[in-house]
């Protein structure tokens, strides 16, 4: 299984005048299960649009997105449903991604039923509990009946990850999933993500501006600037010997506690 874009371009029309903005331009990239791929770049570089393209949430203007060799644009309903099960999203804003009027148990339970991961009340319940405990929200029973407002930021983020992993995805596209978390929780979530790779073979497209995290966990890195992928390669190589001036600036800007 492979999720890839080929020369993907997304053009948005500007609000005023006749200008057009290529949010993503000619982006070719791929990720396979078990691999940790990072996309870095400044805000406005198009990395979140690329994430949405990979998730099939934003259609490309030209180029293509393929999963397992099939272009998303050509998938039928059943294929799209399978795709949405195999490729999951964990987006930036945990408060905005959770319905404030649904408890944690309901939010996860409804997608378990929707995708037919488990059937029957007990089986669904067991699946939810398993997912919550997997992300360290234990004992799960304490969290099932809570509403998003009754959770901390780190807990909400973990609920989103639980909601993603409950479908046993092959690939998770995570947009700034850990940027706002406290150090200890961040370390815990990252360790969980690597565990999922080791145990279940999950692959990640990890979109972030948090370079130390990239250096720590990513296998490969794509660097984006102004909608284009300006540099890509193995993490170790990018950090040791950045070629593009923008990558060099980016690496030099990072504040690290010494």
């Amino acid at each position: 299984m492979i999720l890839e874009t080929e020369s993907a371009t997304k053009v948005f029309r500007a609000r005023r005048g006749s200008g057009q903005v290529a949010a993503v331009q000619d982006a070719t990239m791929k990720v396979v299960p078990g691999e940790f791929v990072a996309i870095v770049g400044e805000s406005g570089s198009g990395k979140s649009t690329l994430a949405r393209i990979l998730l099939g949430l934003t259609p490309v203007t030209t180029g293509s997105v393929r999963f397992d060799g099939v272009a998303l644009a050509e998938m039928d309903r059943a294929q799209l449903r399978a795709f949405r099960g195999h490729v999951q999203a964990v987006l930036q804003d945990p408060a905005g991604s959770l319905n404030p009027r649904k408890t944690v148990g309901t939010a996860i339970g409804e997608i378990v039923r929707l995708h037919g991961v488990a059937r029957g009340r007990d089986a669904v319940h067991a699946k939810i509990v398993e997912a919550l405990e997997l992300v360290g929200l234990a004992p799960a029973e304490d969290f099932l009946t809570r509403y998003p407002a009754q959770l901390s930021g780190g807990q909400r983020q973990r609920v989103l990850i639980a909601r993603a992993v409950v479908l046993d995805p092959q690939i998770i596209v995570a947009d700034e999933a850990v940027s706002a978390l406290d150090a200890s929780v961040k370390a815990g979530v990252l360790r969980l993500m690597s565990d999922l790779t080791e145990r279940l073979g999950v692959g990640y497209v990890f979109i972030t501006h948090d370079l130390p995290v990239v250096k720590k966990v990513a296998d490969r890195v794509y660097v984006m600037k102004s909608g284009e992928i300006v540099e890509s390669g193995p993490t170790e190589q990018i950090f040791r010997d950045p070629q593009h001036p923008y990558t060099q600036t980016l690496l030099a800007s990072e504040l690290v506690l010494t």
Binding site: S152, G154, D182, A183, L255
Partner: protein, 321 residues
């Protein structure tokens, strides 16, 4: 409560010898601050418990801690920006320029916020008015005496603070709406709004958390320059120790609503004394150090820290109601 009038100074003001508003006492002195907030229909939590801190004129302090540690609530209490809810209870003392603010009427708070204390939040979009041009929003916080002309977008005072906040092409920018700006630009607009009233103190709560590294660097540099130039004191609230380390003279570490450790920033980071600070630093370093495996505070250690700090666990708080 205490209205600091020169004719009837209280003992501390007299001891400061500068009188109210004088420059010899600390700009801000918080003692035994306690804040409880409602978290459910019949449930309250003690978000801040017995916090004391002090900020001198021109001094920069950092408050670090994880989410739920009470650092943001402390910041909001100091700016008088806790939700106006009768169940939000504040006790202790907050003295700004020797004036006691706890129990002070809304008018007094408004005066403080209009000239003494500016606040910068993490999420500029919730702070900025989406249907109002940038220029008009900045002008609102400029003292009427310093405004000129009828058009906020052409007011030199507005353009000046936008430039001071590191923004360029300010005349065009003043005509734009918040959603037309990038995250870094919005955050600079917040800095502009905060400095426009020339406050004595800026409270910046996670000002760069949502920004990427290059932009973060620039926004922090801007904040650094503007507070230095205007001799403004700074309270920088963040969960990011690297950010706080780069910007502050002294640091307060909060956990479970309490200050567990404080001191010169370099000392605390080099020689943390409290178990929580030690654990926090260990996990921060595990995120950047290539040779250390990722380390998060394990549950047993967290219980030990909780016991040390005297934090009632969630369940107990739940059944209190």
């Amino acid at each position: 409560m205490t209205t600091a009038t020169p004719t009837v100074p209280d003992e501390r003001v007299a001891a400061d010898a500068g009188g109210p508003g004088g420059s010899s006492g600390p700009l801000l002195r918080v003692s035994d601050l306690a804040v409880s907030l409602p978290t459910g229909p019949r449930r309250d939590i003690q978000a801040v418990r017995s916090v004391s801190l002090q900020v001198d004129r021109g001094e920069r302090i950092g408050i670090v801690g994880e989410s739920g540690s009470g650092k943001s609530v402390t910041g909001r209490a100091i700016a008088g920006l806790l939700p106006p809810n009768p169940r939000v209870r504040v006790a202790g003392s907050i003295r700004i320029d020797a004036q006691e603010m706890i129990g002070a009427p809304a008018k007094a708070w408004e005066r403080i916020r209009s000239h003494a204390v500016g606040m910068i939040f993490q999420d500029p979009l919730t702070f900025l008015n989406p249907v109002m041009k940038i220029g008009s929003q900045v002008r609102e916080s400029i003292h009427p005496d310093r405004r000129s002309g009828r058009n906020a977008g052409k007011d030199p005072a507005v353009l000046e603070v936008l430039e001071l906040a590191g923004l360029t092409d300010v005349a065009a920018l003043a005509q734009r709406f918040p959603h037309e700006l990038s995250g870094g630009m919005r955050q600079r607009v917040l800095i502009a709004i905060a400095i426009a009233k020339r406050p004595d103190l800026i409270i910046a709560d996670e000002p760069t958390t949502a920004l990427d590294a290059t932009v973060q660097r620039h926004v922090l540099a801007t904040l650094d320059e503007t507070v230095s130039r205007m001799d403004t004191s700074l309270i920088l609230i963040s969960h990011d120790l690297a950010v706080v380390a780069s910007m502050t003279d002294r640091i307060y570490v909060m956990y479970g609503g309490r200050v567990v450790e404080s001191g010169a920033t370099g000392d605390v980071l080099k020689n943390p004394r409290h178990l929580y600070t030690q654990s926090l630093l260990r996990s921060v370093r595990s995120l950047t150090d290539e040779h250390t495996p990722l380390w998060s505070i394990p549950p047993e250690l967290r219980r030990e820290i909780d016991a040390l700090v005297g934090r009632p666990d969630d369940k107990e708080a739940d059944s209190d109601s």
